[in-house]
Symmetry: C2
Amino acid sequence: MSYIDMSKEELIKLREKLLAEYEEKKALGLNLSMARGKPADSQIELSMGMLNILDENTQFVGEDGLDTRNYGIISGIKEAKKLFADILDVKPSNIVIYGSASLSLMYDTISRAYIKGILGSTPWSKLDKVKFLCPVPGYDRHFTICEFFGIEMINVPMDDNGPDMDMIEKLVAEDDSIKGIWCVPKYSNPSGFVYSDEVVKRFANLRPKAADFRIYWDNAYCIHHLYADNQPEILNIVTECEKAGNPDMVYEFCSTSKITFPGAGVSAIATSEANVAEIVKFMDAQIISHDKLNQLRHVLFFPNMDALNAHMMKHADIMRPKFEKVLEMFESELGDTGIASWTKPLGGYFMSFDGMEGTAKKIVSMCKDAGIVMTGAGATYPYGEDPKDSNIRIAPSFPPIDELVEACHVFIICVKIACIDKILETK
Amino acid sequence: MSYIDMSKEELIKLREKLLAEYEEKKALGLNLSMARGKPADSQIELSMGMLNILDENTQFVGEDGLDTRNYGIISGIKEAKKLFADILDVKPSNIVIYGSASLSLMYDTISRAYIKGILGSTPWSKLDKVKFLCPVPGYDRHFTICEFFGIEMINVPMDDNGPDMDMIEKLVAEDDSIKGIWCVPKYSNPSGFVYSDEVVKRFANLRPKAADFRIYWDNAYCIHHLYADNQPEILNIVTECEKAGNPDMVYEFCSTSKITFPGAGVSAIATSEANVAEIVKFMDAQIISHDKLNQLRHVLFFPNMDALNAHMMKHADIMRPKFEKVLEMFESELGDTGIASWTKPLGGYFMSFDGMEGTAKKIVSMCKDAGIVMTGAGATYPYGEDPKDSNIRIAPSFPPIDELVEACHVFIICVKIACIDKILETK
């Protein structure tokens, strides 16, 4: 029954019951986390065969004709470029292979724009103001990079088709201090939304006032499906930008952090050949090459897309029951209360949860007191400021399923108490 | 016999003979390189046991209590900090572990100063002028980083005790736009010089006008000896800076690139705990952690300093005959000509060679025409400008010894011809 429709007395009574349950849970001294998009131990185990895949019998001289164990090949070995080109459906010449994490690659991409500019534009460090558009709710680490570089962030609302394109088209056409937008186009962090074809096409056809405006297309979950038979596809942004006469307007990011080992993966950027040339030129001041042995491990472990897709289905088999369990608990416990809503992703690592306005901080804080660590309330918004204080990112991947159930129970109790308190304020 | 004392006729005759030899060599269609400090294949083989050291029996949860295969531990695993603390003789709390190359670490260190400043100082990007002192001859990649960030470089001469400290003390005390100095204190690149205790102490006791002045102490070759029984030690700069009341004034860099696999090593910075705290704080925008599996490979392959030192002696056994062969050829072919001088390092990857003034570019260009790639003339000076056009870096590590001998032969012929031409100009 809808909590909104309950009488004050009913709510007070229910609150007492819930509070008793909460105190009971608290007494258990739990220490559980649904905070970060961390693969579970069982997922990590899937890639163990990669760890000792290199040995004295390995062919270390590859298509580049150089020994991968020694210096050189700054932009990545050809075999790795081909792997990422296949994943992202672009040409190997559109790819630069980077280090162990796409976060560093994104940071460096912004950093180079800040220090040197993009294709001849003024370095951002020399400008009074640089702004980025941030579809919300979004990924906190994107926002942290902007804060680090003093980039002003503007919230852009999104729905299950993607961000509000009317707003984006208008803003980028008007304001040449807007230099970028962060996008997680597929299984968006945290909502799991998948950008519609129309949204991708409108992105590719943007007419920004700033020549150095770029779409920062973080395709982190491009092959991170939950289901074998329900895998939405998004349009290829690199190709669409080419078609639209905007070949240089997008940087697409991707990594194996959640395919093999977090922090010990391989990352890559896909972009126009003009952008690739500039990136590699600037990289020359920074590195001789990223870890080519780790690139080689990955291409040997994934000889083709079939091998990679089969591997991703093993991840899905571990992740899917967790997502389904959380959704089932939300549905049965909160489904008819009218106090919360949540997304139902087909992939990625997160779902987006909304309690009533003004409850998120309280929910997360109550969870913490009971030993359940959630992603910080507000973290899904720039500057950590959720204007409605309603959004919480749910990250069900890491805990084993019994712990996840326990954590969810506590979370649901906290949601109910915080929302009842909010309703009671008005009764 | 000294070429300077020879008559014009003798020189012309000798030149003809040498030119015939040169043409003969050229006709061989050689393709050899003494350009970069690249370990030889046989050195790479020394670390093959590290490649499959991780497997299903590995203990992946280390002293930090977290799985090294998953996210986290931003500043590096404790075991790796201990290894580098032992190498550099500092405390693990002075260490931040970085990615696969110290070059990136140095770049990032400069980059953070440029973007954010150092311990509260003005970011360099907001200053009109930033200058670095560059002991010469030095390492081209240091200079490239400065050029990338628009940092003006000032040459500082050095001798076999280290850089000219009178000049350095005076300049840093007077000019607060001088923010740093690049040093390779042990087996300096390219000279192989080892800084004397007095020089290190004077560095530690600098009184720079700029609070954000730092010594960029690239201790790349700290354990890269050529001999078992003749290993010069330098004073510990981190400790000396502490003693001198300048604990924050130095960043020391180090990596395993030339210990295990170039480009797939582990790098580290050693500095004061205040600097460490700031570095880790800023890194948070950039990365979740560097590759901890590669850190683990290294600590398992080098369980203690004895194992590491034994490994380095295997490198020495491969490198030493090459250095000695080059020195022997220089001595026998150029020793009494009066047209060239060179250093005789006890470690590192290079020796510094000086022909007569105004000959280096010609020598390198003639070598190139005969299929021998040397480090570019001028590369050992900021902006690629060797004011005397005399210095050439010799990198004997990569070629097998027979190829090295062949390359050296050609090089010596080119030196002789270029210097005779120079002498003839004045006869």
